[in-house]
Amino acid sequence: MRKSVVRDVLPLNPKTFHVLLALAAGERHGYAIGKAIEAETEGMIRLTPGTLYPLIRQMLVDGWIAEVDGGNGDDPRRRLYRLSPLGRRIAQAEASRMNELVRLARSHKLLVAVGQA
C-alpha cells in the first residue's frame, strides 16, 4: 500500500525534488532551502518566495515534510522544516528511479560510466 502511494507520485517535479534534497541534509528554514538549491544547481534553479512557499505548503499538507516545533533560528519570523519519513522514502524512490534511468542511458551508450573513461 505505502509502496504504491510512493510510486504514484513519481516522477517528481524537479523543484519539489530539490526541496527534498535540500532538506535531506538537515533541518532548514525556507530561505535557506532556496539558497541551498541555488548553490547546488549553480543558479540553474531559483525558487522565489512566491513559488517556494506554495510548494512547502503542499508538501506539509501531504505529510512529506514537517515543521520543527519551536525552531526558528535567528529570525523569530522563520520556521524550520525537516523531512518526514514519508518524504525521505519518496526522495529515495525518486533518486533510485533516476539511477535506473542513468543505468539505462549508459546501456544505450548515451552516457559514459564514471571511471571508465
Binding site: H29, G30, Y31, G34, T48, P49, G50, T51, L52, Y53, P54, I56, R57, V61, D75, R77, R78, R79
Partner: protein
C-alpha cells in the same frame, strides 16, 4: 524594508488564499528582506503565484463539483431547470426594459430635449399645443432654449402612380431637425428658406422612397404630387427615423414631412395646435428654462391680456416618452428579481434536502482537515456550476419567451427593437453570479459548519435537525409571499384590462366599423358644395351595397385617439376674448347617431332638412349639457361656433342632447358639440358603417368599390371594427398585464414546487412516525389533515407576508390601473383562494403517500 515596500508586498500577498497567507506571510516577508530583492519584482512574483494558486484551487473545486454532480443527474436536471426559469425570466425582462426604456432615445443628447406644456388657470386645462405666434415668441425670446420647433400630424394623398396612396405625414418647423440632431439618409432636411411662401419642399421616408420611388439615388430634386400640389423632394429620412410627438411622446415614423404651413391668420394666438419641442442651451438647466419661460409668460400676458393666466413650462422629453411605463416597467423588473429570489430559495431547499448525505460527507472531510472556508468554496462551486448550466438554458428560455410574447409587447415604445443582445448576455452573467451567491448562501451556512458530534450521532438515520426544517420552511414562506404578490399584481392589471375591454363606450359595437380618415384634395374639391356632393354620393353608394345596413360619416368618432378642441361662445354670457370655454367639435352626417347606436336623451337628432339654408343647429352631449346648460337643460342654448377652418362663425341653436360616449378609455368624456356636415363642410372625415353580416374583407371590398364609383382618384381607406379600436386602446394594459402574468405564472410554478418539495421531504422524514400511527389504527383522514395543515400553515404565513408586498407593489402600478383600486378586494380574494387551493393540490400527493406507508417496512428501516 521601507513602509511603502511593506505596503506593496502586503497588497501583493492578498492574491494568496487567506489561510495560506496567514501561515506563510511572515516567512515570505522575511525572505524578501533577506534576499534584498527589489520590492516591485518581489511583489510581482508573489501576486502572480498567489493568483496561480487561487485559479488552481478553483479548477479543483469545479472539477470536484462536476464529478459529484455527474453522479446525480436527476438533481442536476431539476435544479438547472429551476435556474433556467428564474434566470430566463430575468434576462427576458431586462431585454424588454433595456430596449424600451434604458437605451437612450436615438437623438443627440436626448436628456436635453424638452417639450412645451401650458396650464390655463381658468379652465385648469393642461395642454401641449401652442399657436404659431407663441412658437415664434419662445423661439426668439428664450435665453435657455434653442431650436424651438413645432410638430403637427398631417395626412395627404400621393398621386402620380397608378393608384393614389393615402399617406401619414408630419408638418414641422425647420428647427425640429436641429433640436433632435438627426441627419437625412439622402439630400437635406429643411432650412428657413423652405418656409418661404410658394416653396413646397418635402422629405420622404425611407419606406416611401423604396415603395414608390424605386429607391433611386437621384430622387432628391424630383417632384411628388401630394393632395394635388407639386412638392420638391429635398431629402430622404433614414430607415430607423422617428419624431416624438410632443403631446403623447409617441415616436412617429411618417411617410412624408412637410414644412408647417402657417394656416391660422397671423396673430391668432388662440389657434393652438402645434406640439412644440426644444433643446436646452448648453449649460442651461430645466429649472432655469422654466424660470425663463415664467418671465416670458408674464411679458406675453401683459402684451396680450386674457382673463386666464397661461402658465408655460417645459418637461423633459424622456419623461413624456417613458412616463407611463417607467413605474410599471420597474415593477416588472422587481417582479423578475422576485422570481430570482424564489428560484434561489427553491434551489437552496433542494440542496438542503440532500443535506443528510452531504452532512456526513462534510463532517468526514472536515475531520480530515478541510477548513470551513474550503468546504464552503466547494459548495459554492457546485451551486455555480448548476447556475451556469441553468443560465445557458435560461438564455434559451428568454429567447423563446420573447418570441412568444412579441405580439403582446407591441404596445411598448420601440417594441420592434426588443432582441437579445450583448447587454442581455452581460446581464445574464450578472444574474448567474447573483443566483450562485443567493442560492448557495443558506446551504453554505448550515452545511459547511458541520457539527461533528451531532452529525455522527445522526449518522445512521435520515433524520434532520429542527433548525434545518425551520430554515426550509422559511424559504418556502419567502417563495409563497413573493409569488402571491406577483400573482396579485398581474391579477390587478388583468382585471383592469378586462374592465377596460368591457367598459361601455356608449356605442353599439356589434357590426360597427369605422374607416381610416379620408381627405378630399382641395385642388379637386375646392368648393364646399363639391365636398358635400362627394360625401353624399359616397354614402349613397355605400347604402346601396348589399349587406351595409347603415352608413354615416363624422370628422371624429369615439376612441379615435384624437379630438378637435374649439372655443365657443354662449349668447347671453360674456367671456373675455382668449378665455372662452373649449369643447370638442364633431361634424357629422344626419344618421351618425343612429348608425353608431348613440341614444338621444333630449330633443332631436339632425335630419336632411338641416341644410346650409336652414337655421344653424347643434347637438351636444350630456357632459356639455351638465357643464354649460342653464338649469341642466341645453335645449335652446345659442352657441357661437366657428367652422373647422376657423372662419365661418355661426350662432347655432342646440336642438338635441345625446348620451355621452367615451372619447378615450382612460380619460373623462369631453364636453362635445356636434354640427351637421351640410352646414359645416369638411374636407376630411371617417366613414361609419354598420353591417351585421359582412366580414372585414368583404366590407373593405365594398368600400373600395363605392369609393372607386364615386371618384377613381381617391385612395382606398382601411376599416377598423370597434374591437380593433378597443384592442388598440388597451394595448398598453395588455402588454404590461401579459408580461407580469407570464412572470406570475413562473413564480406560482416555482412556489408550488417549493411547497411540494418541503411537504414531500417532511413526509419522508416522518415515515416512521406515520408507520407507527397507521399500525396503531390512525385513520387516513387524520394523516392527510396532518400533512395538509403543515403545508397550509406555511402557505398562510407566506400569504400574509405576500399581501403586504402586494400592497406596496400595487401603489407602484396604480397609474396603470383603470376602473380599479390597487387594493381591489375581489382580485385579492381570488388570488388568496388560488394560492390556497394550489397549495392543497401541491401537498395532496405527499399527503396521500403518507397514508400508504407500510408500517412493517417503516419500522424495519430503523
Amino acid at each position: 524594508m521601507s513602509s511603502s515596500a511593506r505596503f506593496l508586498l502586503g497588497f501583493a500577498l492578498l492574491a494568496y488564499p487567506p489561510d495560506f497567507r496567514k501561515t506563510f506571510r511572515e516567512q515570505i516577508l522575511s525572505d524578501v528582506d533577506e534576499s534584498r530583492a527589489g520590492s516591485i519584482a518581489a511583489a510581482f512574483d508573489i501576486a502572480a503565484n498567489g493568483l496561480r494558486m487561487r485559479v488552481g484551487l478553483l479548477a479543483n473545486d469545479l472539477a470536484y463539483a462536476a464529478r459529484r454532480l455527474l453522479r446525480m443527474p436527476l438533481f442536476v436536471v431539476v435544479v438547472a431547470l429551476t435556474f433556467a426559469l428564474g434566470i430566463g425570466a430575468n434576462v427576458a425582462v431586462f431585454t424588454v426594459l433595456n430596449a424600451v426604456m434604458l437605451k437612450p432615445l436615438p437623438y443627440v443628447d436626448p436628456g436635453r430635449l424638452v417639450v412645451f406644456r401650458y396650464l390655463n388657470t381658468k379652465t385648469s386645462q393642461l395642454t401641449a399645443d401652442l399657436s404659431v405666434p407663441e412658437l415664434d415668441d419662445f423661439g426668439r425670446q428664450s435665453s435657455t432654449l434653442t431650436n424651438v420647433g413645432g410638430v403637427v400630424s398631417d395626412q395627404a394623398t400621393l398621386t402620380g402612380a397608378e393608384k393614389p396612396v393615402a399617406l401619414q405625414g408630419l408638418d414641422v418647423t425647420p428647427p425640429v431637425f436641429a433640436a433632435l440632431g438627426i441627419a437625412p439618409e439622402l439630400g437635406r432636411f429643411f432650412t428657413e428658406a423652405d418656409e418661404a411662401k410658394g416653396v413646397h419642399s418635402v422629405v420622404i421616408s425611407d419606406r416611401l422612397w423604396r415603395s414608390n420611388f424605386a429607391a433611386a439615388a437621384g430622387v432628391v430634386g424630383k417632384s411628388a404630387v401630394l393632395d394635388g400640389s407639386t412638392y420638391q423632394i429635398v431629402g430622404v429620412a433614414p430607415p430607423d427615423f422617428g419624431i416624438p410627438m410632443p403631446d403623447s411622446g409617441l415616436l412617429r415614423s411618417p411617410d412624408f414631412i412637410e414644412v408647417q404651413p402657417d394656416i391660422a391668420p397671423p396673430g391668432e394666438r388662440g389657434a393652438q395646435y402645434i406640439g412644440t419641442l426644444a433643446r436646452l442651451r448648453p449649460g442651461a438647466t430645466l429649472a432655469a428654462a422654466n424660470t425663463d419661460l415664467e418671465l416670458i409668460s408674464k411679458r406675453l400676458q401683459h402684451l396680450y391680456p386674457v382673463e386666464a393666466a397661461l402658465i408655460y413650462y417645459v418637461r423633459p422629453l424622456n419623461d413624456v416618452v417613458f412616463g407611463d411605463f417607467k413605474a410599471a416597467l420597474w415593477t416588472v423588473l422587481g417582479a423578475a428579481i422576485g422570481i430570482l429570489i424564489i428560484t434561489c430559495a427553491n434551489v437552496s431547499n433542494m440542496i438542503l434536502s440532500t443535506a443528510a448525505s452531504r452532512g456526513r460527507e462534510f463532517v468526514l472531510r472536515s475531520a480530515l482537515g478541510a477548513s470551513n472556508r474550503r468546504l464552503g468554496a466547494q459548495l459554492l462551486a457546485e451551486t455555480g456550476l448548476l447556475a451556469i448550466v441553468g443560465g445557458v438554458a435560461g438564455v434559451g428560455v428568454a429567447y423563446v419567451s420573447l418570441a412568444l410574447l412579441r405580439p403582446a409587447l407591441a404596445a411598448f415604445p420601440r417594441a420592434q427593437t426588443i432582441a437579445l443582445d450583448g447587454w442581455a448576455l452581460a446581464y445574464a452573467v450578472a444574474v448567474v453570479v447573483a443566483a450562485t451567491l443567493l442560492a448557495g448562501f443558506w446551504p453554505m451556512r448550515s452545511l459547511a459548519r458541520p457539527n461533528l458530534s451531532v452529525a455522527l450521532k445522526e449518522a445512521g438515520r435520515t433524520s434532520d435537525s429542527a433548525a434545518s426544517n425551520t430554515a426550509r420552511s422559511a424559504l418556502v414562506v419567502v417563495e409563497v409571499s413573493l409569488a402571491l404578490a406577483l400573482v396579485a399584481l398581474s391579477g390587478l392589471l388583468l382585471h383592469s384590462y378586462y374592465l377596460m375591454t368591457r367598459s361601455d363606450i356608449g356605442v353599439r359595437q356589434d357590426g360597427l366599423w369605422v374607416s381610416s380618415q379620408m381627405t378630399l384634395p382641395s385642388f379637386r374639391y375646392p368648393a364646399l358644395r363639391d365636398r358635400s356632393a362627394f360625401q353624399q354620393r359616397l354614402l349613397t353608394h355605400l347604402r346601396a351595397s348589399p349587406g351595409v345596413e347603415s352608413a354615416a360619416l363624422g370628422s371624429n368618432y369615439p376612441l379615435s385617439g384624437y379630438h378637435f378642441g374649439f372655443d365657443f361662445g354662449i349668447v347671453g354670457r360674456r367671456f373675455v376674448p382668449g378665455s372662452e370655454p373649449i369643447a370638442a367639435l364633431n361634424v357629422i352626417s344626419p344618421n351618425y347617431f343612429s348608425t353608431m347606436g348613440i341614444p338621444l336623451q333630449r330633443g332631436r337628432a339632425f335630419n336632411e332638412l338641416d341644410t346650409q339654408q336652414a337655421l344653424p343647429v347643434a347637438v351636444v352631449n350630456e357632459t356639455f349639457q351638465r357643464l354649460y346648460g342653464p338649469r341642466g337643460n341645453a335645449i335652446g342654448m345659442q352657441l357661437i361656433t366657428a367652422g373647422v377652418d376657423k372662419t365661418s362663425r355661426a350662432t347655432r341653436t342646440v336642438v338635441g342632447v345625446v348620451r355621452d360616449t367615451r372619447d378615450d378609455l382612460t380619460k373623462q368624456t369631453r364636453p362635445t358639440y356636434f354640427v351637421p356636415v351640410a352646414q359645416t363642410p369638411i374636407d376630411f372625415f371617417s366613414l361609419i358603417l354598420r353591417s351585421g353580416d359582412l366580414n372585414r374583407s368583404t366590407l373593405t371590398a365594398e368600400l373600395a368599390r363605392a369609393t372607386e364609383a364615386t371618384d377613381p382618384q381617391m385612395a382606398d381607406a382601411a376599416l377598423k371594427s370597434y374591437g380593433d379600436l378597443v384592442a388598440a386602446a388597451t394595448a398598453h394594459a395588455r402588454s404590461l398585464g401579459s408580461l407580469l402574468a407570464a412572470l406570475a405564472g413562473i413564480a406560482m410554478f416555482l412556489a408550488l414546487s417549493g411547497i411540494f418539495g418541503v411537504v414531500s421531504y417532511s413526509v419522508t422524514q416522518r415515515y416512521r412516525e406515520f408507520g407507527v400511527r397507521i399500525a396503531m389504527g390512525a385513520a387516513a383522514r387524520h394523516i392527510v389533515l396532518d400533512v395538509l395543515s403543515r403545508s397550509l400553515s406555511i402557505t398562510g404565513i407566506g400569504i400574509a407576508v405576500g399581501l403586504v408586498i402586494a400592497a406596496i407593489g400595487g401603489r407602484a402600478i396604480a397609474s396603470q390601473l383603470y376602473f380599479l383600486s390597487p387594493f381591489d378586494p375581489i382580485t385579492f380574494a381570488l388570488v388568496v383562494a388560488l394560492l390556497l387551493a394550489s397549495a392543497v393540490v401541491a401537498s395532496a400527493l405527499p399527503a396521500v403517500r403518507a397514508t400508504r406507508v407500510d408500517p412493517a417496512v417503516a419500522l424495519r428501516c430503523e
